[in-house]
Symmetry: D2
């Protein structure tokens, strides 16, 4: 069996694992007040080009989104997101569970458009009865999006500009950020993202770590008493240094970039193979998630040698499917997959 | 000035007020355990044709929706509603504040369609990853809707059938129920609604009371420990008999029907007048809310003699507006309004 | 039957009711943006000696406590209260339902002591692990307390001083404030309370209104976007002017003072009668709630002619009981009660 | 420096780490639906002597307590706990953040007594006004307690009996369960605990794992849709097999027992040393947490060679302190600590 279900199917990248083993026996204080965590913070901030910012390490993505959004919003505030956003679809209502509405706008290939946000907020403030409506008080985007797409520089700047105009934070979910940074034709680096967003997180779980997400901000005043809130939401890790060790390693020797580049290279090769064999793209993704529309009988046949996900409920004759690469995917895996497609 | 802003601009219907005055000096126990409340429950259940049901009296509509929905849903459950639904737009996020997602479907003249609900739920259960998606676990509709429209018998039956098929409660918001029951061409009586819905509320605030909403169910097992939950949410009234007295009066001598019929009759007269003068209907409403599209300069002129609401942000040249009648509206008010439109 | 169960057993004081009747037919805008409400705000602020403050009118006490406390606290903040406090015992967990811990300190005749609060907060900040403990971030007291007692000037000043030292708000629950202001030997007026507390509410429900509580603050910056939060928590009233009309009346012609004075005078007469007949005071209350310890058989006998509450579970031989007077209690009621005690 | 601050200061026990390394490269499905997790469930249930139960793996203790308690309680329900309980003191209000009151009873050396619980619940149900009081609907205890003490068989049976009498679940927090099972003079094994409690968790984080807690129940009907709730609360781990691998290892070859026995043996040796040198026990703990009362200057001196925690705010002359052993503590560490005490 070859595996393309997701990017969290194996353990940690060997360099990360090695470092965890090396440091396993050391004593440190708990909850992220240790030196490994401090080192990781420095490295992350440096990679982001941030001088006076802050970094917090959490365990998983849904947890991270829930805690950050809960911190950024006041009562009666909502978060603007694409209708396809992870927080709107696949987080079991975690945002609402903390009391906040997800205000959805139509997605464009998984992305929000600055002009749509502008129109929504502008209309909101022009509505005389808005004090009983949920205030659009922050914007959530992801990079890459749920559909594997990435924002161009102009697109992200457009979203960022609207947020600054209305003085609301822009938060970027980077669960798969490594693959976004390595996107085919991608225009944005980590420093661009750090400059255009107010808060974002750098995904570890799907990008080479056992687990872990690094919340980064160049505006620490936006996240007051964040450590207490993390505890309140069950989002702290007693052996916090595990997060520090992993992120310090991911941000040493270009590992995070290497992981992204490897997976995207193989994803592009896969795309080429599918297209050559005449398969329709469900969407043209430049990152490690690839989406095709396949006949149902082909899906059933392929499932016998490869594992991957249907994207939504099964259609009558054909269904969108998703194949995901990561740091552990090999050239042989991709070659075998393409071969398994037959002719 | 003549008033058409809403149906909560005057106090109580004289018969209700009179009864409040008569009973003012009596001593009763608090929190709705009094005889007036018991009487009101009996009368409401009888009007609904329910033998073994229960009734709870709350103060206001947003409060009622929030508490009922909180009671009907488990963790990770959402309520399906039209995108135009009051709970989705004008309740300040009260449903989400209690931890629940509002799952929206496109409205059809303010209404949900059974087939849309069926498709949504069916797709949900066919999606293999649905355990991390919010479960559609109840349906919210209103009668009349935000746009003043009403469900036909077939339409409501369609929604009701889907809910029963999937074994989820159907909840109807009757903030303006009196006007829905009196709708021009309306096909549904109180007993029909009671039979097709699992829980619903009969609006008092907008239908002749000072305040108050009566939550009715023929399935009391759906609302366990409801009085405690009301207290927890700040939705109890110490002098609970005020609610009992008002609803006992509304459901005596056909008052609730008379209130609805009066307001709808005048609304229909108003519609006739607008149409005769060539105004476009924003939507064709058979109840006490009337919506027209008016040129902005006409709106500004009319605002000098009549008060009414713009429906959403002002358009460039014309804007939808809403005029509402209630038990206190007089024929003279309507005549004056039509006259004020000019030629 | 003569009634001493509570102070919410009859409707409104005749002067309040009369004004409601007079204004019933007038049209006003909803949700407290009307002129009656504006008038009530002015009168309340004037009575409190506050120049630049704000007033918000809510429907009931639990609701008021829940919304105010929710507004004053951040995540991971708790409210310090006496173990006997209404919010800790009789509000069904409404404070916790909004996510906040009630941090209890031992009561002294129902009251908190400044020195106890000081010690608790001081210890908290001296504890090195306090970032995972709930921060004591405001203080809740009531006046009179659950046991009918009142703070002396020195006692309230002591609590107020601690709050200012630590820069946390002091909130006073005045559900029965009229009776506290009229307390036998009471040292504090409305202006004193307004000056020593940051936020407090003036009870209407138990002090002559049909319902309603007035939240007052001389520091409006403590309650930002409060109207939206009220809506979010279901605490707004569509016909908001009902609250304005009632409070404008209560604060005209000394009505609020008259109500308090009347009830306290009768309560003192009642106390005299019980003491003369040899009954033990459960606590010596100078306000409208009176507590005695009575033999169980006496309680059972008395229940046949008077209604009143046992205070907690029944004891083996004797049980504390509570008798409450209000504006509607008559001299005859008290005389009859004392007579019914027998010899 | 020798370390006694807590039992989460090093990584994983070598046997656990080795297994994580061995399995690192394998592909599995995510979120705990893998074979390692299934294996761990089987082993845990077997060790607990449970045939038809269920096991869920979460990441940390506060998270586990918050999610389990949220699942076990309805609206307006509270959890009964000792005033010293972790959930009442050191979890940042996580229980309240999910809407539930922690109802505290006085602790007896960190423990609850069945008779105290019985009295509380009995009084509650005898109070006529209890529908507006928070219902005591489950009991939380920990084993060992915050003070390192353990329940005798009779004590735990007493608590368990009360819970069964009132039909409310008994939940046991086993963050340090390995050390409780190995307690000097302890009377209870894992199967006893599994039989007497309805739900409990076996701590991994503090007992040899990198992280992880195993929630166990012999009554799966108490935890419906628990996986969804975990997601909602951000308590799932994408690479769920990491938890499975660790617990499968902890419950192989008697590792969990060995870890507990090792730490307790050294803790007893430590106690002996302190007592011999004349130090007062703050409490006599039979497990891996040891508490002494030490003169402040002695504390300051000792801090130069050993790290450990003050237990609460510093006293004037002396202060309670805590020393914790775990699987990584060596005999040399303890010998060095005792030597450092001087004479």
């Amino acid at each position: 069996m070859i595996y393309f279900d997701s990017d969290y199917m194996v353990g940690a990248h060997p360099e990360v694992l090695e470092r965890l083993v090396e440091t396993n026996g050391l004593h440190t204080v708990g909850y992220g007040f240790d030196e490994f965590t401090a080192e990781a913070k420095r490295k992350v901030l440096e990679a982001c080009g941030i001088e006076n910012g802050d970094v917090f390490f959490l365990v998983g993505g849904t947890q991270t989104n829930a805690v950050v959004i809960d911190r950024l919003l006041d009562h009666n505030d909502g978060v603007v997101a694409a209708d396809t956003a992870h927080i709107n679809v696949h987080e079991a209502g975690a945002i609402e569970a903390n009391g906040h509405k997800v205000i959805t706008l139509p997605n464009h290939d998984g992305k929000l458009r600055g002009e749509d946000i502008e129109k929504y907020i502008n209309d909101f403030y022009r509505d005389e009865t808005n004090h009983y409506m949920v205030r659009p008080a922050m914007v959530y985007i992801s990079y890459p999006t749920e559909l594997g797409t990435v924002y161009s520089r102009e697109e992200l700047q457009g979203v960022s500009d609207v947020c600054r105009k209305w003085n609301i934070p822009l938060y970027l979910d980077g669960a798969r950020l490594a693959y976004g940074l390595a996107a085919e034709g991608g225009e944005l680096g980590l420093k661009d993202i750090a400059a255009m967003c107010d808060v974002f997180y750098i995904g570890g779980t799907k990008c080479g770590a056992l687990f872990g997400e690094a919340v980064v901000t160049r505006r620490p005043e936006l996240l007051p008493r964040f450590v207490s809130l993390m505890k309140l939401r069950g989002a702290t890790l007693a052996k916090g240094r595990l997060l520090g060790v992993q992120f310090a390693t991911l941000f040493s020797n270009g590992l995070y970039e290497r992981i992204g580049a490897h997976a995207v290279k193989l994803a592009m090769r896969m795309k080429e193979g599918f297209v050559e064999k005449g398969y329709k793209l469900f969407i043209d993704s430049p990152t490690n998630q690839q989406f095709y529309v396949m006949p149902n009988e082909k899906i059933d046949m392929l499932k016998m040698v490869a594992s991957f996900e249907q994207w939504g409920p099964r259609g009558e004759k054909e269904t969108p499917v998703r194949f995901v690469t990561d740091w552990a995917t090999t050239e042989e895996d991709v070659t075998a997959l393409i071969a398994a497609l037959g002719d």
